[in-house]
């Protein structure tokens, strides 16, 4: 795995190239912003009628990440569904796929701004979760310590000698980690945006995802 390993508040973590965060000592994998059924919600709201396969695609990549690490615990860090109606509209095939994936694992749904409240699916539903030194929640809180969050879909841009390359990225400093969006069809917010720049310490890293994880100083 071309992952980037780092120590965060005493926990040894790995930023996986897929955009998932792996905590080997806990057998815990965390993904954020799956936005399942985005196309369904889009169509329901009168937008373009996109075929629903992005849900399957996201689940397949999630399954690959879970299988590759053989994770015992899975945290979905909020906005797992595009909204609650989308979660209810999850097609049977995808529902079964998810159920199979959950079998034999602790599975935690953290609430997001898109999908508040309990879901009619297996797993625990929490607003946030603290394990050892780390707290998992959807939206970063300004003064938090040891916090793992999502929500912003950060991406970072690197100017190389021949071309500029932009990728979804983890943002990491000594107090917090912000995960990139894991879902297919999710846009991104540049690491240079004021919200992200305000949230992260000046010495923060951005870890670009893709075929390999590439850490750099967070572009500002």
């Amino acid at each position: 795995m071309n992952a980037h390993a780092f120590t965060f508040c005493g926990a040894r973590l790995s930023a996986l190239p897929s955009g998932a965060l792996w905590w080997a000592d806990q057998g815990l994998i965390c993904v954020s912003d799956l936005h399942l059924c985005k196309s369904e919600r889009h169509a329901r709201r009168g937008g373009a009628q996109l075929p629903p396969y992005e849900t399957r695609d996201t689940l397949q990549r999630l399954s690959d990440a879970v299988e590759a690490t053989n994770a015992r615990q899975v945290i979905c860090l909020g906005d797992s569904f595009d909204d609650l109606a989308a979660a209810r509209a999850l097609p049977e095939t995808e529902r079964l796929f998810l159920t199979r994936l959950q079998a034999g694992r602790r599975w935690i749904w953290i609430e997001g701004n898109h999908d508040p409240g309990p879901l009619d699916l297996g797993g625990e539903h929490l607003s946030e979760l603290t394990i050892g030194p780390l707290t998992y929640r959807h939206i970063a809180q300004p003064d938090a310590k040891g916090e793992i969050s999502g929500h912003y879909h950060p991406k970072a841009q690197v100017r190389t000698r021949l071309r500029t390359i932009s990728r979804p990225a983890f943002l990491v400093d000594c107090d917090r980690v912000i995960l990139p969006a894991f879902g297919t069809f999710t846009g991104g917010l540049r690491s240079t945006s004021p919200e992200l720049a305000r949230l992260m310490h000046p010495d923060a890293l951005a870890i670009l995802t893709g075929p390999s994880a590439h850490p750099i100083r967070m572009p500002r």
Binding site: A43, A48, Q49, L50, P51, P52, Y53, D57, V158, R159, T160, R161, L162, R163, I165, F185, L205, L208, G210, P211, S212, H214, P215, I216, R217
Partner: protein
């Protein structure tokens, strides 16, 4: 049939004689199908209409008698004017009307209930007419169909749609006689097959072709530049020619080039000669104004594009100038035919190459014209996306029987070999959207009734289908207007992606004037007048034809000659320099140059396979280079070469060109690329999977591209054998991808020569200035990222050591 006396009397009064081919058309009035090939100015249209005029002379016919179909709206209006004169002068009781996209809704409605004797229309308007429930009544008495400029339709889906519509008309009016009018073409029999009801025969009448054209290359004091398509260097020489002639048509291959040239021409036009511009992106009112000025003989020159390719009958054009390489000889000959509408005098034309390479191409084209060597590739079987649209159109007009529709479709020449299975696939697609798309109601359009007939699931969908009839795939454009407080005058259209690149204050060229971009309001680009700044250039799509095989071969032959006396000195010097530092491409061997430039490694492949095939070669080769670890970063193609750049030099090119590997991997390799997506978008729009026009606010091109790209990716992954994917593949292979020409190129060569150089060569240099670079991202990105991030982390003192 004999011409009625009042018609022959009119000819006599005018002091005219009925041309032999006009008489021949009257003699054959009862033939089921006749194709007339005649040069422009030969009284072709009159020949097409004479049997109709003769038949209608006694006033005994009620309702629609003759349909006239032209590829251009403007042509329909023009013909109406020209036909009106003899009809009125002879005193024939004939009602003539036209029906195009510009006709008012009230007028159109009345035409269906009470059709005129002669209706002049376009393929799209005809398709729409056949979609109404009352089509059977409208066309019941129809006797004749005249398809004008059929050569311009024969190469396109518009022609396929038209022939399907004719099949429909023949069902509604079984006694229908078909007439096709065409300019000079390389294969009249092929067009005749297209025109006739299959398997009926079709007579071909050849009118006297007239004298050979007087055609040459324009001599200029200044040399053509290395690259580009503007030909600004030739402005003084062109202006001089304009002064020496009465009316000059100055043809360009793209609208953008026409705009720039027009602008420059005016800057140099110190005598203020009246010069106009005409192209398809200009507002209709503007175009009409130019056309009328031309008819009156008020203009000395018109800068134009393909929008004037066809035979609008106006003015005394005594010179045609073609700017830029003509790309194919047939079109050049047809454009030259625009000069001099007098039947027996030669047309006069001048070629102006826009850059150094085009000099060679123009000389080759001149030789081909002199040798009467027209080029053309046979068109394959009728495309299925057009058939899907036809099925939906049929459903709009009422319930239909699948067997009967299948039989009807097979009477169109291009669909004569259509299998029942292929037809059923199209029917299923129209009914359900195809397997992967069944989940959506929107794509389930047809249902079968208990009596076996097919009908629309929801009758209201007819309106939506009708709004999307047609096969023209122009890219998305936005209207341009002067700001409302300054009159709101419409100026024309620009491409949406160009509009998206503008910020308030930017200036660009349209209709020959510089305007300032103010903003976008309700899908209209608002501009103000501004003459003070150097303009950005409006990027209109030009038709990008690939140079024909025949012209490419002539160019390679010319390279092989020792005698370059037909070429201007500057071009001879350029080719000689290329021969000295590298070598010239030839027919038997494939030349590849390899050199570093600007921090990247380049290879330049001189395949001479035409733009589309060279583009495909670029896609295939970058894919192979990626697999072999060369980290390619992008490519650009012209008609004669493909330039690829990346991180590593290519040492051994032979394995890259293994034909079996290229062919085997083609599907897989091409699957994800933009060319396929573009082709898919076109086919999916024609087949009714994506609506181009929807009720309510218009969908923007970007929205449409996004949903069509996602549809494509989805089908590729989950239903790669979906009808739309099969259509896309077939079409891409023969059109934009042109794989046949890559195969022909590989069959032609007997070996590959790789030449390693330390710098850019004379022949490769123009490619660096070419538009349309295609970026490739893969291992090069990873390597560049790794390199850059290591350096960044190192600089930050954070490198893991």
């Amino acid at each position: 049939m004999k011409l009625p006396d009042q018609i022959t009397a009119w000819f006599d009064r005018r002091g005219w004689q009925v041309h032999p081919h006009q008489q021949a058309m009257v003699d054959r009035a009862d033939a089921p199908a006749t194709l007339l090939i005649a040069p422009t100015g030969g009284g072709k249209t009159m020949a097409g209409f004479l049997p109709t005029l003769a038949d209608l002379a006694d006033g005994g016919h009620d309702g629609l008698h003759t349909l006239y179909i032209s590829p251009l709206k403007a042509l329909a209006a023009d013909i109406k004017r020209n036909l009106r004169t003899p009809v009125d002068e002879i005193g024939l009781p004939i009602r003539i009307e036209d029906r195009t996209g510009d006709t008012s809704a009230t007028q159109k409605k009345r035409q269906r209930a009470d059709p005129p004797h002669i209706l002049l229309t376009t393929p799209e308007s005809l398709a729409l007419l056949t979609s109404y429930e009352d089509a059977a009544r409208t066309f019941a008495g129809l006797k004749r169909v005249v398809v004008d400029e059929i050569h311009a339709l024969a190469d396109s889906k518009r022609g396929d749609q038209l022939m399907l519509a004719l099949a429909r008309l023949q069902t509604l009016a079984p006694g229908l006689h078909r007439v096709g009018l065409s300019a000079t073409v390389e294969d009249p029999a092929a067009i005749a097959r297209l025109l006739a009801r299959h398997p009926d025969p079709c007579d071909i009448l050849m009118a006297d072709p007239g004298p050979d054209p007087d055609i040459a290359m324009l001599e200029t004091a200044e040399r053509p530049p290395w690259a580009g398509g503007g030909a600004a260097y030739a402005i003084p020489a062109v202006l001089e020619q304009v002064k020496q002639h009465k009316t000059t048509l100055i043809f360009h291959n793209t609208r953008a080039q026409a705009e720039i040239f027009f602008h420059n021409l005016w800057l140099a036009n110190e005598e203020s000669l009246p010069i106009g511009i005409h192209h398809g992106s200009l507002d209709r009112v503007q175009r009409e104004r130019v056309e009328q000025a031309m008819v009156r003989g008020d203009l000395r020159a018109i800068v134009c594009t393909g929008s004037l390719d066809l035979g609008l009958d106006w003015g005394d054009v005594d010179l045609v100038i073609q700017i830029g390489a003509p790309k194919n000889v047939k079109r050049l000959v047809q454009r030259i035919g625009r000069a001099n509408h007098r039947y027996n005098a030669p047309s006069k034309a001048l070629l102006v190459p826009a850059n150094r390479f085009e000099v060679v191409e123009c000389v080759a084209a001149l030789e081909a014209v002199k040798a009467h060597d027209l080029d053309g590739d046979p068109r394959g079987p009728g495309p299925l996306d057009v058939l899907c649209q036809q099925i939906l159109i049929a459903a709009c007009s009422g319930p239909f029987d699948a067997d009967a529709l299948y039989r009807e479709v097979k009477t169109a020449g291009a669909y004569a070999d259509l299998t029942r299975a292929a037809f059923d696939d199209c029917l299923d697609f129209c009914a359900t959207g195809g397997y992967a798309l069944r989940a959506y109601d929107q794509w389930q359009r047809l249902k079968q009734q208990p009596d076996g007939l097919w009908q629309l699931r929801d009758p209201r969908s007819a309106q939506r289908i009708r709004m999307n009839i047609g096969t023209i795939q122009d890219s998305d454009t936005l209207k341009v207007r002067l700001q409302r407080n300054r009159g709101g005058k419409p100026l024309g259209e620009i491409e949406e992606y160009f509009a998206a690149s503008l910020s308030p204050g930017d200036t660009f060229l349209i209709g020959g004037r510089i305007v300032r971009y103010e903003g976008l309001r309700e899908m209209v680009v608002e501009v103000s007048r501004n003459a003070s700044r150097k303009p950005k250039i409006a990027v209109f799509s030009g038709t990008k034809f690939a140079t024909s095989t025949q012209l490419s071969n002539r160019i390679l032959d010319m390279f092989a000659h020792n005698d370059w006396s037909g070429l201007p000195a500057h071009t001879r010097d350029w080719l000689a320099l290329q021969r000295d530092v590298s070598r010239l491409p030839d027919r038997d061997r494939l030349l590849i140059e390899s050199f570093p430039h600007d921090g990247r490694e380049h290879i330049c492949i001189y395949g001479f396979a035409g733009r589309n095939a060279q583009q495909t070669l670029g896609l295939l080769l970058t894919k192979r280079l990626e697999e072999t670890g060369h980290a390619p970063m992008g490519f650009v193609s012209t008609d004669y070469a493909t330039l690829i750049w990346g991180l590593d030099a290519v040492i051994d090119p032979a394995p890259l060109f293994d034909i079996d590997a290229l062919r085997d991997g083609l599907d897989r390799w091409l699957a994800g690329n933009a060319v396929m997506k573009r082709t898919f978008r076109g086919a999916a729009t024609i087949a009714g999977l994506i609506d181009r026009n929807v009720m309510g606010p218009r969908k923007t091109g970007r929205q449409m591209t996004m949903s069509s790209d996602i549809l494509y990716d989805t089908l590729l992954k989950y239903d790669p054998d979906h009808l739309m994917m099969r259509i896309t593949r077939t079409e891409a292979l023969r059109g934009l991808v042109d794989f046949g020409r890559i195969e022909a190129m590989l069959a032609r060569i007997r070996g590959i020569d790789l030449i390693r150089l330390d710098r850019v060569t004379p022949l490769a240099a123009p490619l660096f200035l070419e538009q349309g670079r295609v970026p490739v991202s893969g291992s090069a990105d990873e390597r560049l990222l790794a390199e850059e991030t290591a350096a960044l982390m190192d600089a930050a003192g954070l490198a893991d050591s």
